[in-house]
Symmetry: C2
Subunit: 361 residues, 2 copies
DNA sequence: CTGAAAGCGCTTACAG
DNA sequence: CTGAAAGCGCTTACAG
């Protein structure tokens, strides 16, 4: 069979079956008032032409595209890839498809992309926004009534469903583990504190300190511009060159963590030996490093699945109360978390000679 | 401003401007025969209502959705995430959006998803298919005339544009490096040989052997069911338990490679010490392992960009000759590639006691 | 240069 | 139960 030049339309099916287009539509859409004979004739003709209704025309007529706009910061980040995968599976099983766009670290692109997707008449949005405060994004979000599920973001003034991670608990576990091991010079490298994830992680970090009776956290939290490898790298280098370098580092996500590992490497230091290390987000390779890297784990796909469920429920019942689902995070202890060199809790005062030598070479 | 209940339509703009809808359309679409006054009045009214034409209605009318169907095997695989990212950026800058679907290792889903996307009237496809031979996929592909760009696949009987990786060269470099170092027991763990990627990698592997004057490759190539971590893990375990275990392993992609690392780990063996290791596909963490893992690198985003360019060109000129673009791969030498334990080329005959002990504990 | 009409491919009240 | 008509929101020949 040669490729058909054109997709057959409902008219052609109607002509072949010898009935009206409206009857074809009713028969195919299981309308109750259709005689068995009509149904049979239509089915046969539709089969014969392998007719598929034009989704576009249906969308225009029905006012629903069964399409969800999904904006992520960067699909090449495994976290977002996992979320998208989870959401796609759930949505697909309900006849919805995903239009995917990347905002690539530019908050202005969030607003722009929302506009593009709105023009494409998506039925809903799942948004992993860059910023919670960008005024342009807020304006665009407020000026539209399409359902939105926010991922790990809370935006005041915009009522939406949301899926959030409980970063706090996992980071608190991680931090208190380090404190119990005797670490007193822990640095926490976090992305921009503008976002919920950062704030929540900080909360966990601070609560662990508070539970330990330590209140002041000067110079302990290192806020870098964004959750990127390069910022993690630079921040770590800066920390290692301090008079009083950390005995432990917590990296607030895997990009930063990779940067931290690279910086340790460059300084000739070993994680889990010279410096304890905990990275937020699990990646199998972290488990295979020597020693394996402790992590604060979370389930990305689950976030996607839940987001899709919330959105589907919202499309069913637009006026039901908004919901926020909080997913857990948990600390996974591995070999990179050890007692500091001198277990009295003060800095091990290790000689940086080896590191220097390597860096000079 | 409260969220508008409805998007304004062209009729409302026409009413506000006091002109006909057709004039609004012409003014907004830069039709030449529009008076300056008309243009101004329309622009003002459109601005006032912040009118955006309904993309759906335009699509139906114009017969083009400016939407590309993108099917990947698994978006959570960083390789595909990178490809999608590259393609999305290129397409977006030309006003196209991506409908993304995952086939999740099920070749039947490829065919089904192509159908779904066709019904959604995508203007073109970028396909990272599961199988080159699945009859259902082939049937669906042949029965449609929408432009397709295939990623790293060659399907006989279906004329399409394609972007391919030259896996062969990179693997040949890797293999001959191992051979030159004295390895004679190299195992190559590859996914299903049904796909071009596997065939091309094998070609490189064999050509390196041939250049070395070795022809017979019995028991050297290990074909596993698919490019998955678990298959890599099982295959490696099996190899390590052979009478005559390999002194070097090449893993045909990063999933398999992770499985290989995990299996080495379980056997208490170290890569780059007990067994040389080269993994096809680069991931930054591989560079940070101890020792860093050698890889055969390729540029995923580039594949996406090129695929988008080919597709856009095809949409411009449907009848131009089909093109295949081949992207390079190259071997990156790192610490995991070393001479075998006994450098005469025969197996180091290491005692597996340590490994056994660990596995029993 | 402008407007009224037709039509993209559907679905659904509305008659009968 | 079935068909003719209207309409979703656009664009584009076609008149004028």
């Amino acid at each position: 069979m040669a490729p058909s030049e054109q997709q057959p339309t409902i008219k052609e099916v109607a002509r072949l079956a010898g009935v009206a287009p409206s009857s074809v539509s009713r028969a195919l859409n299981d309308h109750p008032d259709v005689s068995p004979e009509m149904r049979a004739r239509v089915m046969e003709a539709a089969e014969e032409l392998s007719y598929q209704p034009d989704f576009l025309a249906q969308s225009l007529r029905l006012g629903s595209t069964r399409t969800i706009g999904f904006i992520v910061r960067d699909i090449s980040n495994p976290l977002f890839a996992g979320i998208v995968k989870g959401a796609e599976q759930e949505l697909e099983s309900h006849g919805y498809s995903i239009l995917l766009m990347n905002s690539l670290g530019d908050p202005m692109l969030d607003a722009k992309h929302i506009g593009v997707l709105r023009q494409r008449r998506v039925d809903g949005f799942i948004l992993s926004l860059q910023s919670e405060t960008n005024s342009e994004t807020l304006r665009v979000l407020k000026n539209q009534s399409t359902p939105v599920v926010l991922l790990d973001r809370e935006i005041k003034g915009v009522a939406t469903d949301a899926v959030l991670f409980d970063h706090s608990t996992g980071v608190a576990e991680a931090t208190s583990t380090l404190l119990k091991l005797g670490h007193r010079k822990i640095n926490f490298i976090v992305g921009s504190a503008e976002t919920r994830g950062s704030r929540d992680r900080l909360k966990g970090f601070q609560s662990a300190y508070a539970a330990f009776g330590i209140e002041s956290l000067d110079d302990v939290v290192i806020e870098v511009g964004s959750y990127s490898r390069d910022f993690g790298f630079e921040a770590t280098k800066m920390l290692l060159e301090r008079e009083d370098p950390p005995t432990a580092i917590i990296a607030a996500n895997s990009q930063i963590g990779v940067g931290t590992l690279a910086a340790l490497n460059e300084h000739g230091l070993r994680h889990g030996e010279d410096v304890s290390l905990i990275i937020c987000d699990d990646v199998e390779l972290l488990r295979l490093m020597d020693p394996p890297v402790s992590v604060v784990a979370r389930d990305a796909e689950k976030m996607g699945t839940v987001a899709a469920e919330l959105l589907l429920a919202r499309l069913e019942e637009p006026d039901s109360p908004m919901r926020s689902v909080v997913l857990p995070t948990f600390y996974v202890h591995r070999g990179s978390t050890v007692a500091p060199r001198s277990s009295d809790g003060r800095s091990g005062k290790r000689t940086p000679t080896a590191a220097r030598a390597i860096r000079r070479s």
